[in-house]
């Protein structure tokens, strides 16, 4: 036998990251910012998108790519609120979307007629953190029914995200959830993380979320939403409804 060793030195994510770079370039050429929404299952990604399309749909043209392991139920729910295209990706078992799936989904979208792109990832706080989809930013959602220590349990996702949306805040009077503790845990992992706190049911905090989306659109995806400095979390919450 003649055994020899071939050096490879190829990152496993190399191909995905190359395609993600192409997606990012393509979206950039059309001035379309993309937000990659990630969370555990049931945190309220779909409902936040439904509400956003309902309230902001006349103002901004928003396309959505949804990923689910099975069914296109989420895409069907979202499509009720928009005439713009909603692309469903059924991953058939895979625990995350990858850049190639997003690239293929873009083929069906008219990017010149799109102001914002939402990518609703598979509900999972582990795997989607590793896969770049070509987004402008990851937005991690977690609900007040999930526990304050989610950021400590899933640090990679909170490190990768630029924005965090605390959802279901209408339930705060009914659940033992310490908002400031949750924000502190998240900022311990990622000090630059910007928080929104919303209820897609009663509308709390959605004005701040919509303000962010408007500014993101106007900037073509290049903006960084700055939080006020010199204010504690509590003060910021008081000063700006829905914003922690």
């Amino acid at each position: 036998m003649a055994i020899r060793r071939i050096e490879v030195r190829e990152r496993v994510m190399e191909r995905n990251d190359t395609i993600a770079g192409e997606v990012r370039l393509r979206l950039g050429e059309h001035g379309v910012p993309a937000l990659n929404l990630v969370s555990s299952p049931g945190s309220g990604k779909t409902l936040l998108l439904e509400r956003t399309l309902q309230d902001l749909g006349r103002e901004l043209r928003m396309a959505v790519v949804t990923g689910d392991v099975q069914t296109q139920n989420d895409a069907d729910r979202i499509a009720r609120w928009t005439d713009d295209l909603v692309q469903a990706v059924v991953t058939g078992g895979a625990c995350h979307l990858d850049a190639l799936q997003v690239s293929n989904a873009l083929e069906a979208l008219d990017l010149d007629a799109t102001d914002l792109l939402f990518i609703e990832n598979v509900g999972n706080l582990v795997c989607p953190a590793s896969w770049d989809l070509g987004e402008a930013a990851k937005v991690v959602l977690f609900s007040v029914t999930e526990g304050e220590d989610k950021p400590l349990k899933y640090p990679k996702m909170f490190r990768e995200a630029s924005y965090a949306v605390l959802t279901k805040v209408d339930l705060l009077p009914h659940v033992p959830f310490d908002l400031e503790q949750a924000v502190a845990y998240a900022r311990a992992i990622n000090p630059a993380l910007t928080f929104f706190r919303v209820s897609s049911i009663d509308g709390t905090g959605l004005d701040a979320w919509y303000g962010f989306l408007r500014e993101l659109h106007q900037s073509g995806g290049s903006m960084r939403w700055e939080r006020p400095t010199g204010q504690g979390v509590g003060a910021a919450v008081d000063a700006r409804a829905g914003y922690a």
Partner: protein, 93 residues
């Protein structure tokens, strides 16, 4: 200690490792692969035992004729295919 499993995340990474291996074999017309060297960072979000379990399952089948995986666990979040060990067979007499 749980027995190794093959969760979807590790399986998707293992499939990508196999794709990289196949691509390199095709590109360089390599002979039979005996061993695949993989570097896994402890912060890569992967469970090394589970990844090894998935790779053993995939590399034990065609087009890989029972190739082994050599996993090197390192600090950080690196995840890469480091080398392929191939067998050129017996030299012609």
């Amino acid at each position: 200690m749980h027995p190794p499993r093959c969760p979807m995340h590790e399986m998707s990474v293992a499939l990508e490792i196999c794709r990289i291996t196949e691509a390199r074999v095709g590109r360089d017309s390599l002979p039979r692969v005996r061993e695949v060297g993989v570097i896994v960072g402890r912060q890569s979000g992967l469970e090394p035992d589970n990844l090894l379990f998935c790779l053993d399952a995939l590399l034990g089948r065609p087009p890989f004729a029972g190739a082994r995986t050599e996993l090197e666990v390192v600090a950080g979040d690196e995840l890469s295919v480091s080398y392929l060990e191939v067998d050129d067979g017996d030299p012609p007499h």
